[in-house]
Amino acid sequence: MDAAAAKLIGAGLAMIGAIGAGAGIGIVTSGAVQAMSRNPDVTGTIQTNMILGIAFAEAVAIYCLVVALLILFVF
């Protein structure tokens, strides 16, 4: 196989990790929305914690993205 083709396949494979982050963000948001609908008074606190949780879940996807970008543009 030619190296350029291998690079493209590798970058595509690296992004598989985004699956987990997508599921994670969905779970976090679903829990937060349920909590907010049950107790609208604490919406502010829940939102802050929800954004934090999303940021942590998203970080994994971002690592995948960085690896994919490194494969594509650096190596």
Partner: protein, 335 residues
Amino acid sequence: MSEKVQGGWRYGKARWVVLAAIIFGLFLFTGFFGVGLGIKPIMPHVFLPGENLTEHPMFGIEGLYLTNTLVGLLLADLIVFLLAFGVFRGVQSGKLTLTGFGGAVEALLEALLGITEGTAGKWTKQIFPWFATITLLVLAANWSGLIPGVETIGLVHHYEGHGNELIKVGPFQTIWDNSHAGEEAHGDYAIVPFLRPVSTDLNFTFALAIVAVVMIQVLGFRSQGVGYLKKFFNFGTLFSKPIFGFIDMGVGLLELVSEFSKILSFAFRLFGNMFAGAVLLFVIGSLVPVFAQSLFYLLELFVGLIQAIVFGMLTMVFMSQATQGHGDEHHEGAH
């Protein structure tokens, strides 16, 4: 309503029809005739590190070049200074309630202060400046990439084996996409933009992350003194409770590792989001030359704001965690 329309030429409605026709015409032209004539949008070459604008290092220091991301940092700084100046003028005007620009900034900062008070408690005064400064600077840096002309206007530089071909059109020279169906463009020239948003440079995000994590430790020591180290080196229960003491020690060492992984996670989150956003705008712009990019501009506006708030908020939450004691002792007024 119907009487007004009858027989009347409604300018308001016709305007939208004309606009739609123009956009549709542009689509048709670039889609069918443009590519056939060889006029097609050029996919800019993507460089991961900031590109050097000058041939020689600055001030004669080895390896210190004027990169376009450094110019982007100056732009972001300028935006923050203008923000500060606008608020200063609003305060100088002597009105009790700020209006207009100053009022908008006040509302933003008040929202940030509210979040900080909810989390940090009595350490709000020490933590809020870091939160607000990081959020404002990163927001300015992220959104500076959306200003038209940033990342697009620049000089053609020579890059061996990268980019496109150089051709002459009358008295001018320009780069030219010489690719044919199914193969890549070849050439040695690429446009190096004068400006690039600074958050697409790993050096900036790493520097900001190191500053944030070091200040988290500083605040931890300020609030708890040397006892802050107990969070990492927890040998106190090692001999009194052999099994759980050992687990406590392991947890402490994991905390130590997680402090270092915070730096990586901070830096790569911001860099990854913003760099991917820039590449996304490049790709969409080269696929569909008109209109489609606007939708992704909206997405980038949102991502830039979220990433700025997330960077600031994570710093703030880690700082307030560091100031609150670990384990049994609960400081009063911490919540």
